[in-house]
């Protein structure tokens, strides 16, 4: 069964360092997303990506964050200068259609980021 894969599964970094989280969405999906979940809190939307550009982003997704689809398979989230409060589980998701069109999201297993 096709699945979304994420790497690394866990990354520990020092405050102020740059981090890149990688995702391989399901191959025939057109919409890509990053969500995050701080320990004990709800899953929060960060950004959605379609047709090689950001389609929506939340207030969390400030100038420290960027996304890229560098080739036909990878979808990356970069945090330019990490802060302690960026520590969270980051989930990548993909869908065939937009959620507004009842597109169903398929999530990866997440990348746990710990900022020290």
């Amino acid at each position: 069964e096709p699945e979304v894969t994420q790497t690394p599964s866990h990354q520990v970094t020092q405050m102020g360092q740059e981090v890149i989280l990688r995702c391989v969405p399901i191959s025939n999906h057109l919409y890509f997303y990053w969500y995050r979940q701080i320990l004990g809190q709800k899953v929060e939307f960060l950004v959605s990506f379609y047709n090689n550009e950001i389609s929506e982003k939340s207030e969390i997704f400030d100038d420290q964050f960027s996304v890229e689809r560098p080739d036909g398979s990878n979808f990356t989230l970069k945090i330019r200068s990490t802060k302690l409060e960026d520590s969270a589980m980051y989930f990548c998701a993909s869908s065939e259609a937009t959620p507004a069109g009842t597109g169903e999201l398929f999530f990866g297993e997440g990348s746990r980021l710990t900022v020290l």
Binding site: V43, S55, P99, A100, F107, E109
Partner: protein, 111 residues
């Protein structure tokens, strides 16, 4: 104020019991999805409901979308320890395209 309020936050029951968890909002949703999440893993989609009043069944799980498309419920019959997990509802508000999650209901089913 949360867009999607889930209740209860935590539910601990014995194997074989029935239960219902709720997802409520003051907003109208074009669609609503239920996910289950296990510790250290990503949410896994269980069902999508689209039409007001819609009922969908997935084995022992019954999902209902409210007539006004503002709320939903998940009913589990004869719960099993394998049903243990965090149940999340997530919806797309009418006129928007972003999927927003509730905080979830943590279900623990003991043998």
């Amino acid at each position: 104020t949360q867009l999607l309020e889930q209740s209860p936050q935590f539910l601990s029951i014995q194997e074989g019991e029935n239960l219902t968890v709720y997802c409520n909002s003051s907003s109208v949703f074009s669609s609503l999805q239920w996910y289950r999440q296990e510790p250290g893993e990503g949410p896994v989609l269980l069902v999508t409901v689209v039409t007001g009043g819609e009922v969908k069944k997935l084995k022992r799980l019954t999902f209902q979308f409210g007539d006004a498309r503002k709320d939903s419920s998940l009913h589990i019959t004869a719960a099993q320890p394998g049903d243990t997990g965090l149940y999340l509802c997530a919806g797309v508000q009418s006129g928007y395209s972003t999927l927003t999650f509730g905080k979830g209901t943590m279900l623990l089913v003991s043998p």
